[in-house]
Symmetry: C2
């Protein structure tokens, strides 16, 4: 939309770095337990820092979420590259999809943010989302080239399916997590018959 997205950067000064890290740690914990709309003032006070300091390092909630989930998404991309080298492209795609669903539902509200970021440049998470999109698209293409996945499935559609599965997982209570089954049924729909 407007200008480039703000990606939080670890600051230079020692006290700055200390606070940055403390805020990030507190945010991860808070998001985990209260979802993506956890109170920022709580996060600041958990980190032992004034609210202004949180805003200095992370001017928007989205930038904080981005920083808190960057590692996970980087891993996902890295893992995709490793999987590409494997023998079976369908197995690779499936393994990656499972992992993606888990990452997308790290905490309540995350999938929504990622789905938003996927198609909205000017969003902090957009960069990582695009990278992930590419990883997935590569794995998909390979599986399609091997004739193992229906050729008319597009990467965008793949991401819709993954987001849907992740959303269901996000909603689920510990005793009722249908996401594995959800993915299984999806796979049934997108793989080719033999």
């Amino acid at each position: 939309m407007d200008g480039k997205p703000y990606i939080a950067q670890r600051p230079k000064r020692a006290d700055g770095r200390r606070n940055y890290d403390a805020i990030l740690a507190a945010a991860r914990k808070a998001f985990e337990s209260a979802g993506a709309d956890a109170s920022l003032e709580d996060i600041a006070s958990q980190a032992g820092v004034a609210i202004g300091t949180l805003y200095r390092h992370f001017p928007t909630r989205a930038s904080l979420v981005e920083a808190a989930t960057r590692d996970g998404l980087e891993n996902l991309v890295a893992h995709a590259e490793r999987l590409t080298a494997g023998p079976d492209p369908l197995d690779a795609l499936i393994a990656w999809m499972r992992e993606a669903v888990v990452h997308f539902s790290t905490f309540r509200g995350l999938v929504g943010i990622l789905a938003q970021s996927m198609y909205d440049e000017g969003t902090p998470s957009h960069t990582m989302c695009s990278a992930m999109h590419r990883s997935g698209a590569d794995l998909l293409r390979a599986a399609q080239a091997a004739g193992r996945v229906r050729p008319d499935l597009t990467p965008d559609e793949l991401f819709d399916l993954l987001s849907g599965a992740a959303w269901v997982r996000e909603q689920a209570t510990p005793d009722r997590d249908g996401s594995a089954r959800f993915l299984e049924l999806l796979l049934e729909g997108i793989t080719t018959r033999d």
Copy 2:
């Protein structure tokens, strides 16, 4: 959880009914354009009523959402009954699923509330959700009895699939609505081959 859910009831006195209806109309409009977390104070003022009046009729946001969506869900249940009489149980199930996805995504945030209500008694929408669950389960059972849908699919799983599809639709921008395709792929996964 605690006690029975509060289901908003149309009040007795003429001014009460007038306000109740006005609030409901304003709420529908607001939910449509701002999602389920639209400002209640805005809704009240749009309805030409003080905030206290809104709370009198609808003590919680969930009760207002319930009232605003009750008709739609009732229709869905009624339609299921009509469909049961049809010749082809798979066609009936599919038609109903399409309709369900549309209803679930009437406005942003609704699927989340419904998914919540489905398994949480003590929620205003729980009653309607259960009724819907039953409708869907009936149609599913019929299609399974006819050997048209994989027999191991449970009603709960069916609702996970529908919610996932609805969520994707809810997220979609007008130019990018993958929900039809989503459902198509799901159907591929749950129908039996011939």
